[in-house]
């Protein structure tokens, strides 16, 4: 049996990394994710975890170190926040192209400006199309579970893709929650040792990341596309097995909260969903038919599941905690992805985008309340008079 502790998202992730018995960790400090590395450094120093702990000279180096380590057959872990995530941008595609199941934790932080220590999903969302599995945890327990499940998914021979395990900076990474830390022997059973497809070894010299001829390019991209699409089945299997073994059952794609007979709903990802849920509960007690759908896996995007979840409402509001200047719909990437998922259905479900919680501000109860009231208006009218609203200035 595991033990229950009150720990932060950072410490929860570090515990998962320890349970996964990683071989190589590469760090570079930047708040807030750095809480994970300080805990891991302590574990290595205290002899609790036997891993090579490498100090990178920057995020580009961090990703390059785990790239090489993973190619040599090691289970690897790295992470970053904010501008650190974007500094390493060059290395993400080579890692997924080489099909190395590296895991990177991202505890969100704003880019510059404003460069404050606040959380914003912009950093991790910049990396969304690089061939990595990606999703957001909304509390420390989920951060721990996600880390374990992502290793298992990414290392599955049918997938072999790296993973971004994301959590909101501060709201998840630094706020304590009750976390059940599973038993090491049980985790070992769930997560067998990593076996690389092609091990970098002096006895069998190989060219990794070779310059390809143009005629090989399309085939290589297609391989990665097939792996990403094929990961959907594995993601479902792994969540099922995790639920059976550890007793925590997650829907791999979306979490629906009080959506039965709901007329309007908020579509959101990450820790702000927890605030949204308290507002839903309050409005329900006042007789309002409102609900909330939280996206759990962002890449691969669960088009079918989001379509099924959202198509039953009279109006849907997406909450984007990121900036996407000039994007279609003038809100954020969640709005465009949700609309794309719904469009093929032929239904005319009005969707409205809300941009909220920027700069690390929390999305307040009052703001969620205003969003729901706006959605009620939209549901009644059958259409929205504006594509999107920036909070708190436009609503």
């Amino acid at each position: 049996m595991g033990v229950v502790k009150r720990i932060s998202g950072c410490v929860a992730t570090a515990n998962a990394v320890k349970l996964a018995d990683v071989d190589v960790i590469c760090s570079y400090p930047i708040r807030p994710y750095t809480g994970i590395m300080s805990e891991l450094a302590r574990m290595v120093a205290d002899g609790e975890l036997d891993a090579e702990f490498v100090y990178g000279e920057g995020e580009h180096a961090q990703l390059s170190v785990v790239y090489g380590a993973s190619a040599s057959g090691a289970r690897t872990f790295t992470g970053s926040s904010g501008v650190g995530v974007t500094y390493a941008m060059e290395v993400y595609s080579p890692i997924s192209g080489e099909r190395l199941p590296v895991q990177m934790a991202i505890a969100d932080r704003t880019l510059d400006p404003p460069g404050d220590f606040g959380s914003e999903h912009t950093d991790a969302l910049c990396t969304r199309d690089q061939g990595w599995i990606q999703g957001w945890a909304s509390n420390p327990q989920e951060a721990l579970d996600m880390t374990l499940m992502y290793y298992r998914i990414g290392e599955d021979p049918r997938v072999l893709l790296p993973q971004y395990a994301c959590q909101d900076g501060y709201f998840v990474s630094h706020i304590l929650g009750e976390v059940e830390i599973p038993d090491a022997a049980q985790v070992k059973e769930f997560l067998p040792p990593y076996k690389n497809h092609h091990v970098l070894d002096v006895r069998t010299p190989q060219i990794i990341g070779a310059q390809m001829e143009p005629k090989m390019g399309p085939g290589m991209q297609y391989q990665r596309y097939v792996a990403m699409e094929g990961s959907r089945k594995v993601i479902e299997e792994v969540h099922d097995e995790f639920g059976r073994m550890f007793g925590r059952k997650y829907d791999p794609w979306v979490e629906e909260f009080m959506t039965d007979d709901a007329e309007v709903a908020i579509f959101i990802q990450g820790g702000h969903a927890e605030t949204g849920k308290t507002v839903v509960r309050r409005l329900r007690s006042l007789g309002e038919k409102v609900g909330l759908v939280r996206l759990r896996t962002f890449r691969p995007f669960p088009t079918e599941q989001v379509r099924n979840a959202l198509s039953k409402f009279k109006a849907v509001g997406t909450v984007d905690n990121s900036v996407n200047f000039g994007i279609s719909g003038a809100a954020g990437v969640l709005l465009t992805e949700a609309r794309t998922a719904l469009y093929g259905l032929g239904d005319k479900i009005p969707t409205v985008g809300f941009v909220a919680g920027l700069g690390g501000e929390m999305i307040t109860h009052d703001e969620f309340y205003k969003m729901f009231m706006k959605l009620k208006e939209v549901a009644k009218a059958g259409k929205a008079d504006k594509q999107s609203y920036w909070l708190p200035f436009e609503l």
Binding site: G97, E98, R99, L160, H197, H198, T204, P205, Q206, I207, I208, G209, A210, Q211, M212, E213, K215, M216, G217, P218, G219, M220, Y222, Q223, V226
Partner: protein
């Protein structure tokens, strides 16, 4: 014409070539050709170790350039301590 994804090596990873790669002949990129003055050459092997494309072979008869892969970068000319390697424009040659 694109190669089928099933025929492309997994993740583009291939065994290190022990011989020449016929699929990537780079000699046609060259605008200047290295020419060796065998009388000046001391066979110090500095050009051999400096060639980024391993296009210089240390043969028993002396240094040889593999023109199928030599891109004509001129590093050998630059590093030769006795000035035994000159670079001649490709247009000066018939072939």
């Amino acid at each position: 014409m694109s190669i089928s994804p099933n025929e492309v090596p997994f993740a583009g990873t291939v065994p290190s070539p022990k011989t020449e790669n016929e699929g990537m002949i780079t000699g046609s990129w060259r605008t200047r050709r290295p020419i060796l003055d065998a009388d000046k050459c001391t066979e110090c092997l500095i050009c051999w170790i400096s060639c980024p494309d391993s296009s210089i072979k240390a043969a028993s008869s002396g240094m040889e350039f593999n023109l199928k892969y030599c891109k004509g970068c001129g590093i050998c000319n630059e590093v030769c301590p006795v000035g035994a390697i000159s670079l001649v424009p490709e247009l000066d040659f018939e072939d």
